[in-house]
Amino acid sequence: MDALSLLSFAAFFLTFASFFSLTCLGLNMQWGFTGLFNVGVVGFFAVGAYTSAILTGPAYPDTLFGGFGLPVPIGYLGAIVTSAIAAFVVGFVTLRLREDFLAISTFGIAVTIQLLALNLQSVTRGPNGLYSLPKPLSGLSESNLVDNLLYLGICVLCIGAVYWAFEQMVRSPWGRVLRAIREDEQAAAALGKNVFAYRLQAFVVGCAVMGLAGALYANFVGFISPQDFLPIVTFQVYVMLIVGGSGNNLGAILGGVVVWALWSGSGAVIAAVLPPDFQTQAAAVRIVLIGLVLALMLLYRPAGILRERHIVSREARMSPQSRPTR
């Protein structure tokens, strides 16, 4: 492999990893800092992807709505707005629920969003998906490599901006309240904090970032279909966050890159080892492996690679099994 194709591969790999890192950052705001167990990550990612696709994509002969062909940045902005709105609605309904009901509800929302993508044919073209989505800055150069490097630049810029903003937010008094809610909801409420409002804010902010990640993905790949938004994505993002270290923004970014490297690396190895007829099996082996990574992390290193900094330890929580009175 010559240097150029290596560079091209690296650009491609890192661009993909950055979609995950960004999603991971969004989830970190919800799960890492506020303790919201959102099992519908892929749903908000999909909302962003479809929004940008509809806003920026060409007019298709078989859809009734969409094909606005707007500039890509407007697609990104639109994705942030629609996923935030979706998060507001969903959060308003579910964030008052107990943590495990929240998990079940957000899981159901992701399933519902996927069903909508699959069945609202007049908007999403159903299983056929939306294609020929424009990639920004791609007219500047003849070279595919330059295109990809430029796109990677956009992604890095987005991650940098979100990282910077999140660091400011979690260090502010607002962020302290979020952590207080995560550690002890009742105590936070007793301090006069409107727990619901804070959770809703963290949820909306996190989902908006997931939506942006979805839009970046859609316009890079150029084609999206419901098959891209299966529950496995939510799971991958959790594994990334847990591996990276939940509650640590840098860890979230790192986790995205590391786990994506493992994921694509294992895919390459399995593809090389297994004959091409065993594609289904190869995919299955990979998912079993990532499941093992999660189980081992939960058992032996729950804090992740980068631990959360100077914040009350989570071990202080009582287990649900033993509920001592005092």
Binding site: G35, F37, V39, V93, T94, R96, L97, E99, D100, F101, A103, I104, S105, F107, G108, I109, V111, T112, L115, L116, L118, N119, P231, I232, F235, Y238, I242, T280, Q281, A283, A284, V285, I287, V288, I290, G291, L292, L294, A295, L298, L299, P302, R314, R317, M318, S319, P320, Q321, S322, R323, P324
Partner: protein, 297 residues
């Protein structure tokens, strides 16, 4: 009223699966996202034993299944229970010992769910399989209401299983221990109850009923690696609508979900079946957070 008949059959299968979900929720105190894969594992084990015995699935009178399938299901219950106990021993037990939070347990279950689904794909392949080739022959039980005899048998089997569970919970020592542990695990231990044994039997009972659910679903529809996963949302909805903490509520919730899903199909929303049960669940949570039968002490 055809949809009522269809809904009851679906409810019978959901309730068999959801009972395990409910028992785990109340005794181990977490939402087991891997319950769907227990259902699927049970179905595939049943298929494995049918193949192993090589006697087909038999028939009894008008039914397209008979003793060979029932015996295979019995063996599959044991195999599935063993499997579930191994997973508990390797993963959930260790997390419990580390006093892991409820969310960690859910996350682990989510991982087990994915692994289970993909292990099934690895071993049995991703394509749908049937126990046998059977053409359902419907009979008219009421004017314009047609049901397949097998569907009636499924409802009867589910009813008998629920009755057996009721007797188990109220008449046996282990059943009493389960109810005690569900209410107050600490006080249960203080009564000399070995909660580890209670947890084992909870998994076994839940997995056995899930196996029955999976095998019956496999018989009237087909076996797919995702067959259990697509039942997960209806099962959760049944659990929550009925009010957690109440197995009888779960049964009512299952009936509710079964009827509303088949109603959705009847009015042409079959593509959104799963979403329908979920939306109903959300609506009920908003109005009655404790569920239909919840809050009754």
């Amino acid at each position: 009223m055809q949809f009522v008949a269809d809904g009851i059959v679906f409810a019978a299968i959901i309730s068999l699966g959801a009972i395990g979900l409910s028992m785990i929720y109340n005794i181990l105190r977490f939402a087991n996202f891997a319950q769907g894969e227990i259902v699927a594992t049970g179905a595939y084990f049943s298929l494995g034993f049918v193949a192993l015995f090589g006697a087909g699935i038999g028939s009894i009178g008008p039914l397209a299944f008979g003793w060979p399938l029932l015996v295979s299901i019995g063996f599959a219950m044991v195999a599935t229970s063993l499997m579930v106990l191994i997973v508990d021993w390797l993963l959930f037990r260790q997390l419990r010992d580390k006093s892991a939070s409820r969310i960690t347990l859910i996350m682990a279950a989510f991982g087990v769910s994915l692994m289970g689904r993909n292990l099934i794909t690895l071993i049995a392949g991703g394509d749908p399989i049937n126990f046998s080739f059977f053409i359902p022959r419907a009979v008219e039980i009421l004017p314009s209401v047609r049901v397949v005899p097998d569907d009636i048998a499924i409802v009867v089997l589910a009813g008998l299983s629920v009755l057996a569970l009721h007797l188990y919970l109220t008449r046996t020592t282990m059943g009493r221990w389960m109810r005690a542990t569900a209410e107050n695990p600490t006080l249960a231990r203080v009564n000399g109850i070995d909660t580890r044994a209670v947890i084992r039997w909870t998994w076994i009972v839940g997995a056995s009923l899930a196996t029955l659910a999976g095998a019956l679903q496999g018989h009237i529809v087909e076996l797919r690696p995702e067959m259990g996963f697509s039942l997960l949302l209806p099962m959760f909805a049944a659990l929550i609508i009925g009010g957690v903490g109440n197995i009888y509520g779960t049964l009512l919730g299952a009936l509710f979900i079964g009827l509303s899903q088949s109603f959705a199909v009847a009015i042409g929303l079959s593509a959104y079946r799963e979403a329908v049960s979920f939306m109903l669940m959300l609506a009920i949570l908003l109005v009655r957070p404790q569920g239909l039968l919840g809050g009754r002490d």
